[in-house]
Symmetry: C4
Subunit: 124 residues, 4 copies
């Protein structure tokens, strides 16, 4: 199988909303990224978080096993520092191997859930 994807990805419009409606945790408001590693080796990922009014935080390190998908909720990134609720952020991700990254949001702050998804920006 071909190596699919890019080494560098970014998206600008992250936001973890505070209010949630509906069953937990399935309809809990969240921003997340899905990372696909089609290669036959594990991918090492570094994530940097950028804010409006303070210095960037990172890297957050994680691995994606060979030929696996990994979904990461930004709520779950806690080392070196948790992402605060209601804070806007951007994300830059780099990988040791080509991967495909998708960004999505479920916002359940009003009665109906709203989902949004977009391919991240493949920077190289």
């Amino acid at each position: 199988m071909n190596r699919i994807g890019k080494l560098n990805w970014a998206f600008a419009g992250g936001h973890i909303p505070f209010a949630s409606t509906g069953e937990e945790p399935m309809f809990n408001s969240h921003d997340k990224i899905a990372i696909l590693n089609t290669a036959e080796e594990e991918a090492e990922i570094e994530i940097f978080i950028f804010y409006e009014n303070s210095a960037p935080v990172g890297s957050y390190s994680l691995k994606v096993k060979a030929q696996r998908l990994r979904k990461v909720r930004f709520n779950d990134l806690i080392d070196p520092e948790a992402i605060q609720l209601e804070r806007k952020f951007s994300c830059y991700l780099r990988s040791s191997l080509p991967v495909v990254v998708q960004f999505s949001r479920m916002d359940t702050g009003q009665a109906a859930n709203a989902v949004m998804g977009t391919i991240a920006f493949p920077a190289d």
Copy 2:
């Protein structure tokens, strides 16, 4: 007409939700892909599905006729193996001819339907 598209496509963030509301099948929750073949020959498509915790499955084979659109619900991919409800997945698709691929979701798990769409990642 020019040959439009790419041979390799991927997206990371697939998910078939379990719960549905509204009339069946129009508002049934689903993830799907739309494949456009503008060429004057039939395109042969192979789809590989990647998971979080098990080996990839594939290829699922299908054809898109010359100068036709084909929409495929992931719920309908059953050979070699059905995609389980509530399971997250990624998708890698390759084609014998350039095609254009779009990913979309209708999630009707709460009272209002939510739709999401994004261009897949054109890998080459």
Copy 3:
């Protein structure tokens, strides 16, 4: 100002839903494209519509004035042939000048409106 955009665009996942709720015409269900022409000349656009089970139809011709935006509802494409409600379609668009094309949907078939938007695929 630089010439911004591409000559060839496509998207695969078009669909004009039948049912609508809410005030007409603002919340009428529709698929549409927005075309931005930043150049100092008028752009001539040709649109071809592809279907699942019949031959492509086109070209639909339209112009986008110099340094203007034009939004087109697929409901309004009637020459050479109207697009039928509830029919899935794909779209290939070519332009005499570089333009930027965005596809969007408002689906009001259930009680809440759902919007979806994605950049079209820049084919060249």
Copy 4:
């Protein structure tokens, strides 16, 4: 850190809806852009707005500090001229340094909020 992004961005499908529901300002209808500057220098941004029936307006000037995110609501662009409610628009943005731009909409004109997001078109 690598310089991430592009100098020129555009999107075609802007629209500031008039009606809003829910708490202000969190659920106020709006279109906005998020701009990520990963560089160690401030980025100078110029935005040009295109309309359906009148000449483009611009440039709107703003800065994005080194290694910061900046979100801009189009409602807040007032110099040289405010963007009118219910008016459709397109946007061309150029930057002195590579940046990543994402476009999003929250439309609360009916009872449930709908969110939409897409990567802008990276024009160079």
